[in-house]
């Protein structure tokens, strides 16, 4: 189930959940449902009683592994080495527990020193990651009037202006942190959970990405999303003339690649009251149009609470491996 609990289902019950999940998503995002062949393939994967399943030899994909390590095994660089040398991860990510560019800014020299040490000791690409996290700029955490308090008071213009002010500050902070990490040797910058605070949050990520790409043509830039749908907290913001509010993955990916990112990470949140079969069909329906048109690598967020993986501390291996196999074999994704 989406909360991680183990249930027994018949093949016909799983089939019904797959069909319901794809139909619901297709209606919501105004996209095509999965085809019968794709649903049959999913049924084979999800009706298996195997604890672990995998793709065929030769079909392996890249694991970008944002938020590498646990922060509780030795130090952070040792975490990266462990993931490189023991776990076999393809890219690792240095990060701090307060996973926000605003928070990193105050400690950027020390973060940069850790990046420099990591670059000396790791062979894998090492990127630096944090969330754009626009909400941090509003009161009481930041200097700007809180748009979530202004909106219920019908102060719409003030709420919109506040989000734009916060967006400007966030763009500056992402650039500030990225410049320092690149100076320290970072291979890439990850903006994780982009759009968590809505369209202004997404705009900040896109704007910062374009600025970074202009300065660093060979830099890895990953934009991972917060959810399947960009909330219109502002409602009128545009990037390259296109309204960001209400964008689903098929439009998100166009914006992300236009901004110059290297990797797009779609995220579809879990419904904890539904089966993993229902959730995977729903997630794949949202993401399929993006995977079809993408010109850059697509690394689907397949982890705790997103991408068909249950929301629980220790996601069961059968759930994680089935979701991974499904995305790779049916949507032909480039990584996760």
């Amino acid at each position: 189930m989406g909360d991680g609990s183990l249930v027994e289902m018949t093949r016909s019950e799983i089939k019904a959940d797959l069909e319901e999940g794809t139909q619901l998503a297709a209606k919501r995002a105004k996209v095509e449902p999965l085809t019968q062949d794709e649903l049959d393939h999913l049924l084979d994967i999800y009706a298996s009683s195997a604890r672990f399943t995998a793709v065929d030899i030769g079909d392996e994909v890249i694991m970008s592994n944002d938020g590498t390590g646990t922060k509780h095994i030795g130090n952070r660089v040792q975490d990266l080495q462990t993931y490189e040398q023991v776990v076999g991860i393809d890219m690792v990510e240095l990060w701090q527990i307060d996973y926000s560019y605003k928070a990193v800014k105050t400690n950027v020299a020390h973060e940069g020193q850790s990046m420099k040490i990591a670059q000396m000791l790791c062979t894998n690409p090492v990127q630096y990651g944090a969330m754009p996290d626009l909400g941090r700029y509003s009161k009481p955490d930041g200097p700007i009037d809180n748009w979530s308090e202004l909106l219920p008071l019908m102060k719409v213009d003030e709420a919109r202006a506040a989000q734009l002010d916060a967006c400007d500050m966030l763009v500056n902070d992402i650039n500030f942190v990225a410049d320092h990490m690149i100076e320290a040797g970072a291979d890439g910058i990850d903006m994780d959970t982009t759009g968590a605070a809505g369209d202004a949050d997404f705009l900040a990520g896109l704007t910062a990405c374009r600025m970074l790409r202009e300065r660093y043509p060979d830099l890895g830039i990953e934009i991972g999303m917060a959810s399947e749908f960009v909330l219109g907290m502002h409602g009128q913001l545009e990037f390259d003339g296109e309204r960001l509010a209400g964008m689903w993955p098929k439009d998100q990916v166009r914006m992300v690649q236009a901004a110059g990112a290297s990797i797009y990470g779609p995220a579809v949140n879990i419904n904890t009251g539904k089966s993993t079969a229902w959730n995977i069909a729903r997630a794949m329906t949202f993401i399929k149009p993006a995977a079809e048109i993408a010109e850059i690598p697509v690394h689907v967020n397949v982890g705790m609470g997103v991408g068909g993986v249950p929301t629980c501390v220790y996601p069961p291996a059968d759930a994680t491996s089935r979701a991974s196999k499904a995305f790779v074999e049916i949507l032909k994704i480039d990584g996760y």
Partner: protein, 104 residues
């Protein structure tokens, strides 16, 4: 893909620096290494290829090779083999005045 046990880190670098999708990235790396695409995720084939080209190996209890290129050293060779700039390698050369040590 298996990271350094295979060619996962190399394919990842092509996705990051050249924005290549997976199929293109694998084909590019295989061409540069002079091997088949299927070899890229084969730890046995890649151990030999990585050793020959100095692309970095995992030190094991039974196979430690301190004389081989590893970590930052291996990245000089990866940059040359894949014909891409690696940021920390460029910084290393800039800060040490090294421009030709690995022919990069």
């Amino acid at each position: 893909m298996g990271g350094m046990r295979t060619a996962g880190d190399l394919v990842a670098r092509m996705q990051m620096t050249r924005r290549m999708r997976l199929k293109e990235a694998k084909a590019y790396v295989a061409d540069k290494l002079g091997c088949g695409v299927r070899d890229l995720s084969d730890p046995i084939a890649m151990e030999q290829i990585r050793s020959e080209k100095g692309l970095g190996l995992l030190p094991h209890t039974s196979a430690v090779r301190p004389g081989d290129a590893g970590m930052i050293e291996a990245k000089f060779n990866i940059a040359r083999t894949l014909d891409i700039p690696i940021n920390c390698v460029e910084r290393f050369k800039e800060r040490t005045g090294v421009t030709t040590a690995a022919g990069v």
